[in-house]
Every structure is written in C-alpha cells, then in structure tokens.
Symmetry: C2
C-alpha cells in the first residue's frame, strides 16, 4: 500500500487581480493595484512583471508566488530586502525605493489574494527512497531536522502568517532561500528555525525537497546518507524505515505507523480531538527523550498506580486514546491497537525486554530553583511557543487539517492525560521544544511554561466523579496536577474550556 | 503470597494388618501374613520387625514404608537384594532366603496395603531458598534435573507401579538410596532415570530433598549453587527465580507462574483437559528447545497463517487455551492472560525484541532417512514412553491429580494444537524426551514415535467444519498432520477417542 502518490487538484477559487482590488477596495489604498500593475517609476517595476497578474509567480523563471502569503511575513521580507539583510540584487533596489507605508500596503495586497489554482504532488505515504518527499513528511530527526510539513502544513500550503507555503513555489526559488539561510544572506527568521535547519541540509537534500515542493517528479536517488545525531548519541536506534518488514506483517506494521502519524484519519472512532500520536512522540515515535515507542514497548506489562493494576502495552495504549486523544479506548484486540502494538514492537527490534532504556519516556527535570510560576510561564509561552501553537494555545490549521497541535482548549488532551502533569510536560518541553530546538530553554523556563500550559482549561477528566473537588482528591492528589486549583480566579476543571 | 506452607493430613484409611489379611484372603497365599508377622526362621526375620505391623516403616530407624508401593517395584527390589545388585547387608540374606514365589507373594501383600496416615509437609509454592522443596517442585533444569514431583507426583505420593512414594519416607532412607544410585550399589532403575539424576545432585541437594520429603522442616540454606547447564550453554538465561520482582507487579508475575505450572487449578474456566502449560514448556517455560516463554515473548506480534492475521502475544496464548488445553480462549484482558503475559515478559527480561533467539520454539529436525513409521513408533513408545505416559497414552495420576500428561485421548490436546503436527512433536521429543534425557533418541526414533503419538484419536478440532474431509482440506492440508487420514482402519478425527 505504500508509496501512494496522489495528484491533487486544489479546489481553490481563482481570483483575478481585478476582483482582489474590488474586494479590498475599502481597506487597500488605491495605489496598491497601480503599484502591482504599473510600478513606481523609475525604480519600482510593476510587481506583476515577475510575480504575475494574480501573484502566482513564474515557475520557469524561479519567481515566487506571493498570493495568499502572510501579511506580516511579506512586510518583513520587503523591509529585509530594503535593508539588505535579505540579499537580493533584484528586490533590494525595489524595496528600498518604497516607503514603509507602501511596503505595508503591498504586503496586504498580496496577502489578500487567494492562491491561484495549481497542481501539487502530494505524496501521502512516501518511501525513504523518495528523498524530497520523505524530508517533507518525516524530516530527519537523527540530525534534529523536523519534517517541513510540521511547520508548513501537511501539504505544504503554509500555516498562519509566519510559515509561508512551499507547495508550488519554483524549485529554484526554494533552493535559493535554503542557500541564503545557509550562507547568512537572509535573516534567520522566527526563532532562527530556518537558518538552523538549512545548515543541516546537504546540497542533495536541498535539491530534493525543492523539487518535491515544486511538483517535480522525484528522481529515485535513494535515502540521504545518515547524519550523525547531535544529541543522545548512545540511545537505542530503532530499525530504519527502509527495513520495514514485507508481507502480511509489514502491512500491519505500516498501518500502525499510519495510525501513529495520522491518528484521527486512521482511527477516528477513538479520537476526540485533533492530536496525533506523533505530536507528543516525535519522529513517528522514534525519538529518544520524547517517549519513544521502543522505550515504552519494553516497559510493559507494568503495574500502574493510575490503573491500580498491571497494564499490558495494549491496555496502556487504551489509556492514550481515553486521555491524550480525549476519545474512547479501542477494545482490546481492535485492529487499531494490534497495528499500533505491531508498529511499536517493530520499532523496538533488538531492544532488551524489561529494561529502563536510556531515552525512554520524558526526561525528569530536577526541581527548579524557583517554584514554577504562571506569569513567567506566560512570557516564555509568548516568546517561544505562540508562534506555532497560537496565542491562545489553540494550535494552527493548514488546508483544513491540524498543523500545530492545540495545547489546551476543546481540541487538546484532557485532564486525565499524562501531559497535564506539570513534571511530565516540563520534561517533554525541555527536551523537545521549540520543535527541533530541544534543550534551548532553561530548566526554569521549561517548568514555568509547563505550569502555564497546564493551568489552562481543557476537556474534563473522563473519570470525573461528583465534583471537581472529589475528582481532585481521588485522581489528582499531587502537586504535579493543577486540576481543581484556582488560577486567575478560575477553578481548573470546572467547565468546558 | 509465596511461599505458602500447608500441613496436610492425608485422609487415608487405616487398615490393620488383620484387615489386610482378610481382604486378601482369597488372593494372597496364607503364608504371606505369617512371613510378615513371624518370618521364616532361621534366615528371614519378621518383616514387621523393621517395617511395622501396617507396613508403615520406622521413621527414627530409617526403615522405609512398604505399604501401598507398586507390586512389581517391590518384587524387583527383593530380586535385586537377593542378587546383591541392590546392596544391603540387612536385606540381602533375607531376600536370598526367600523363593521367587515368596518374594512375589510378599510384594503383593505390601502393595495391597493402604498407606498409613501420615503428615506430609506439602510446600505448594516454594521459594528458591527452600532448597529441598524447590528441587522437589521445580528441579534444576539448568543441570537437566527434573523436579522430583514430575515423576513421583505433586505431593510425592508416588505414581503407578514404577514411581514409589517419597513423602513420609525416612530421610536417612532417601539419602541412602540416592547415594546408592550415585555409587552404583543400586540398579539404575527404569530408563536409568534415577542413577542419572542422583549423579547430578550434590550432598547438600540430597540432604535437602530427603529432609523435605521426610517432612523435616526446611532449614534456610539458600538456593543451591548454580550448576553449569550441560546443553545449550549459549542460550539465553532468564532471570533466576530469586529475582522475582516485588510489589504489585511481582504479585501478578507470580500468579502467572502459578497458572503456568498448575493451569487447571488456577485458570480452570479455560481448560478442558488435564494438561499444564509447563507440560510442553519445561522448567516452567524457561528451558531452551522446549518453546521457552522468553523466546515466544519476543516473537509477537507476528502474522500467523493459522489465524490469517497478525496475533499479539495475548492472542497467541488464546490459541494455547483453545487448542493445547482443549478449552476456550480467555477474553483479551482477562486476568489470567495478563498474568501469563507478565510472567513471560519477566522471563524475557533482557532478551532482544523481535529476534529469533537460539533455543526458541522446538528444534526443527531434518527429514528422516526413512519415512516416519507407525509400527516402529509403537516400539519406541513402548520402550521409552509408556513407563511414564502409560501404555495407552493416558498419562498417570497421583493423589487424584494428573502426574504425567496424557498424550492422546479425551484429556489431551486437541486436533488443532501445534503438538498434533508430527514435525513439531518430533522436535519436542528429540530435544526433551524422555524427561531429563533429551537427545537420547535418534532423529528417526523421534520422528517415528511422534507419528505414532499423532496417529491416535484426540478431541476434535474446535474449527471443525461439516466433515472430517472438509476440515482436513481447510485446516490440515499438510503432510505434517494425520487428521483425516486412515490409520489401522480408523479415520483420525472421526470420533471421540
């Protein structure tokens, strides 16, 4: 069943430049359309000369699409061109000749345009040999390279204002941008994410991923050479994706992987929110320090005080669905559980049964010097987390599909999930957040922001009994849980968020 | 919950010597009672002088009980004393002075007596530190020493004619016999079982097991030093019994072990015959080449063509109950399955997940030079197997409990069990049979006797569909299965055995 390559014609509505001008007649100064179509002689050529009348770009020439990109993103780029922080012999004199006001107006003009219709090659289940598609969909976590899709959306359509679309952009443009970040001729971008990632990409990687997003059919180049992992070098190595078993068993392992990556799509009956397993278990459950499946698999059956009983691995996964996915437990023996267990078993190939493996679970942080603090946590959140997870923890969407996971609110994990415990969350955040920048927060910052996240309202604990107070007493009698505590005058757990 | 030491007063009926004489007035020549009570002057002293009026023996003096022992066993001992093959300064002249006829009569006289009431210390769940009880109940398979109870019955009450009781015999007597076998002053016994086993016991072992069966309270001597395994030295070593985990998890692991050892007693709702898991998985599921649990645990989930699906370890165990135990599958999540899975997980501690381990499963024998043959198999069976499993494969009972497992018939595994496949059975037999004498049969003998065993009637395949022919076609279409074939004019699978 893999790889499946689907050609998707995006059902986007074609707006003409005329319509755009009309739609925005009230808010866009009248000269925006004039600048786009005629320029500001003598220095500013008409934008459409290169970027097309619909802002669609010029694929053969390598000029990027502007239509539908984030307003602030476009404004920042014009400012960066003008100051030559983003180096471009073409754009520098154009941007420099525009006033700040004109830059802002043009950013709004193109942001308001819908993307033109385009063909995007979407590889749903790429094989490792499809190097570009694989980097796009899975990244290379052994080198701390997240999947492009984790920030730019599953189909590369872009997410919010800060993560521009990649799908359909000219390959030459994407290559040039990645090279710019590598060589410091483009500002590092929010949280320096792109400069850090570009530095880790080989020439081959850059070309492959650019070709992929440009819709160029992938050449069979084989998987990129493995880059040594920068952290946790001594951790267990699960089998590479290329070692996926064949035959009937491989089919089930592969199904398990797909459920793990796209949980709602493939096991929707048991999922009550928009999270995926891979949201907390990074790199498809492979990554040390991110509760990897190989570490979990060899740790069960085990007695859990939460259950008051010995839980098998299958029973443990039932808990994930009930709490972390805010859904319901698949019955034991359900094909989804069997597939997930098979996938975890395969990832654990060669791992010693019954041992506490290095990198299993989340790291346990030492108690912080200062008690974790809500207000300090909010500052950390705003500075380091909101970019992706949104200002209110609601996550972000791309192409109608969840892109960044909601951290609280109705689409997040519920009050029974392990991540609602401040210590768990602090360990996860410290090791893994911001995405691909693990260990960049101090322990104190990790504790503070974990407390902030876990002091927000989220779906009720399914074990709810009588009252918040009684439920806290029965299931949350721990300093690690904020359930039943009053924060900012709100009793946590008291209401639908 | 372990160890539990129970003092059991055996509810046996006290027969007086008088009653015995009356009971056997018809069949026992009149002089038996006279010889027992008055002897045959001048050489034969009255038997009861040493062995007591009820044949109960003399514990302080070290004279063994004779009442209730096997008739042929007693006759053989008298003959061996007379010829000095079994050396005894006391018994040699007595036995030599008796005619063969008188020996036979006296053997029958004492065999017909019921055992006198006695206290036997039965340690149901011994701890490894209880050295004698442990040897009695579990043996030391690392040195190919089976448990005493495997041949002499769970309570040491003896099994059939050939395996005399040990419980309540004087410690000095048991010690002297084991020493005799060690030093060759007693015939090696059937299949040389006891001479081989005694040779492997240390002085400490001999004393501990003798004290145990004599009912002497066990001294805490600690487990015997580990003896190097004579075979499969490179196989995986599961954790020693002394490493049994503590706490709630250990409790479940221990329950799993008890189910494994005493399946009907502890999971009776799912068992339809008198087998135990440990009957085919020797040494409580630890032994390499005997489908050890550690080898199985790391091999699941796996695709099984038998199921047409991927089976988890729990699902695989459901099959054991349905087929090998001729019972019904416990539902997934049943405490019995969770306990068994926990026990297997613990035995596999440190074993690499997803690997084919040396010693896993049963060995696969090469195809024999001659096609396996029923008649040759019968000869092997009669010579090497019937002693324990009975002349008709029905097994043997001790104290009302199964002692040796039935190999066919209504109390054995059914036509769906893996052991009904000739190749499986041949591999198991070659590696493990006769008990503690693995690798003593030739490959050809193993194939022949496996074919003989698997050409006997046994409970129906629970997947039975319409007819034997249809069922063979659907589930038994393999040269390895005798189901649906005609042997000795009988269509196998056609009727209740």
């Amino acid at each position: 069943m893999r790889p499946v390559i689907r050609s998707v014609r995006l059902g986007l509505v074609l707006f003409s430049a005329m319509q755009a001008a009309i739609v925005h007649g009230e808010t866009v100064p009248a000269d925006a359309h004039a600048i786009a179509t005629r320029g500001l002689p003598p220095s500013v050529v008409a934008c459409q000369a290169c970027h097309g009348p619909d802002g669609e770009g010029n694929l053969p020439a390598g000029f990027p699409r502007l239509a539908g990109l984030g307003r602030s993103y476009l404004a920042e780029q014009l400012a960066a061109f003008a100051s030559a922080k983003r180096q471009s012999p073409v754009m520098q004199p154009i941007a420099a000749a525009m006033s700040t006001q004109q830059q802002t107006v043009m950013a709004g003009y193109y942001a308001a345009m819908a993307s033109p219709p385009q063909r995007v090659v979407v590889v749903v289940d790429p094989a490792p040999a499809q190097a570009g598609a694989w980097l796009a969909a899975r990244g290379r976590w052994s080198a701390d390279i997240p999947a492009c899709s984790q920030c730019h959306g599953a189909q590369g359509l872009g997410v919010g204002d800060s993560f521009p679309p990649l799908a359909g952009q000219p390959a030459a443009y994407i290559v040039a941008q990645l090279q710019s970040w590598k060589h410091g001729t483009r500002p590092p971008g929010p949280q320096s994410l792109m400069s850090a990632i570009a530095a880790k990409l080989s020439e081959q990687d850059v070309n492959a991923v650019a070709d992929y997003y440009a819709g160029v059919p992938a050449a069979a180049v084989g998987p990129a050479a493995s880059t040594p992992r920068t952290t946790s070098a001594s951790a267990f190595e699960p089998p590479p994706e290329t070692a996926m078993p064949a035959g009937e068993f491989g089919k089930i392992v592969s199904q398990g992987e797909q459920i793990f990556l796209h949980t709602r799509q493939n096991a929707g009956a048991y999922v009550g929110n928009t999270l995926d397993c891979a949201g907390c278990h990074l790199d498809a459950g492979r990554r040390a320090g991110s509760a990897p499946m190989w570490g979990a698999y060899v740790s069960y059956p085990a007695f859990r005080s939460k259950d008051g009983a010995v839980s098998t691995f299958a029973a443990r996964m039932q808990g994930c669905f009930l709490y972390s996915m805010n859904g319901k437990a698949p019955p034991l023996g359900d094909p989804a559980l069997v597939a997930l267990e098979s996938y975890a078993y395969w990832l654990a190939k060669g791992a010693p049964v019954g041992t506490k493996m290095e990198g299993a679970g989340y790291p346990k942080l030492p108690t912080p010097a200062l008690a974790a603090d809500f207000t300090r946590g909010r500052h950390v959140y705003d500075a380091r987390c909101a970019l992706c997870h949104g200002p209110r923890g609601q996550g972000q969407v791309s192409g109608g599909q969840p892109a960044f996971p909601p951290l609280w609110g109705p689409q997040s994990f519920n009050w029974g999930a392990g991540m609602h415990q401040v210590g768990n969350a602090a360990g996860f955040i410290k090791a893994n957040m911001p995405l691909s920048q693990g260990d960049s927060l101090s322990d104190q910052e990790a504790w503070d922001v974990a407390l902030f996240m876990d002091s927000q309202e989220r779906p009720q604990d399914p074990r709810f009994a009588d009252s918040v107070e009684a439920t806290r007493k029965k299931f949350h009698d721990s300093p690690d849980s904020m359930y039943g505590r009053v924060v900012d005058g709100h009793l946590l757990g008291s209401g639908r968020p």
